[in-house]
Symmetry: C2
DNA sequence: GATTTATAATTGACGTATCAACAGTTGACT
DNA sequence: AGTCAACTGTTGATACGTCAATTATAAATC
């Protein structure tokens, strides 16, 4: 049984590395940046902390991604006048266009990858991963409290 | 349906990032390096190309990891006298000791993470990921052939 | 109001992955 | 034996994640 668990850890890494690369190759934007743009698309304006909480990656990484996306004019950043610690991030029309342009490539790629799976299969794996994410998050938080 | 698939991509990344960090925190060795050591443990001597094929990460990354592990005396490298292009990699007794020392921490962590899942659940997810890995590998290889 | 604590974002340093280029070697062919 | 293609490993540069330290600001406390 231990063998399966160790196998699962590294298998997740392998799959992630490959899917991330495939995504970038097909859509010409990284998976993380795409997720940032997608989150912005559904909101008026968000803080970088919101992005961090949603994506569960380090604040520093958010800053770096957001700065690059701003340089590409895909989003705008402005200090929040109501709270000068916060930076508000909003999608530009150019950013919305990019998401639209990505849609066909994305759907084609997803179809090619997932055509052999049922919705139930995929939902099962998603639920599995969600609970695994929570469990590992919990264990990491426990470590923090002990220091 | 698209929503589930996009969600799955980034969810895999989040889970991988967290599990990788948890693994490192608990065992004090990175997941990739642990896998290298584990592969060496089961073989007499292997080439770096063997490691690359097994782990499915870039050759450059293998070289860098193996060099560090050699510095730590966990493995040895020697040119293959039968083929001077190849470097043969073997585990040291210190390396074997390290794997032994990791075992308890690893089992404890795995138990904590997976105690709520059945073997069937885990096997299902592993099979799912294996086929997803193959599908993405196939799509990436197709890209290469077109260039 | 003054002080302390907490928060948000940024920057530097580092680890680990990728690609590209390279050096040296082997295998296939003439 | 000479040439070319393929192979193996290495190195430099880059991307992207982490942690730690920092700056500025808001919130909490006295």
């Amino acid at each position: 049984m231990n063998h399966n668990h160790t196998e699962l850890f590294f298998l997740l890494k392998q799959v992630d590395l490959q899917l991330t690369q495939l995504f970038d190759d097909k859509l010409d934007i990284s998976l993380t940046r795409y997720e940032i743009m997608r989150l912005l698309h559904h909101e008026e304006a968000v803080t970088q902390t919101y992005l961090q909480r949603k994506l569960m990656i380090n604040q520093a990484a958010i800053t770096r991604h957001v700065k690059v996306l701003e340089t590409k004019e895909l989003l705008k950043r402005v200090r929040n006048p109501d709270n000068n610690r916060e930076v508000l991030v909003t999608v530009t029309s150019k950013g919305k266009d990019l998401l639209d342009q990505c849609e066909l490539s994305k759907v084609t790629m997803m179809h090619q990858l997932f055509e052999n799976y049922t919705d139930e299969d995929i939902d099962f794996v998603i639920n599995f991963l969600h609970s695994l994410k929570s469990a590992s998050r919990h264990m990491l938080d426990q470590e923090e409290e002990q220091t």
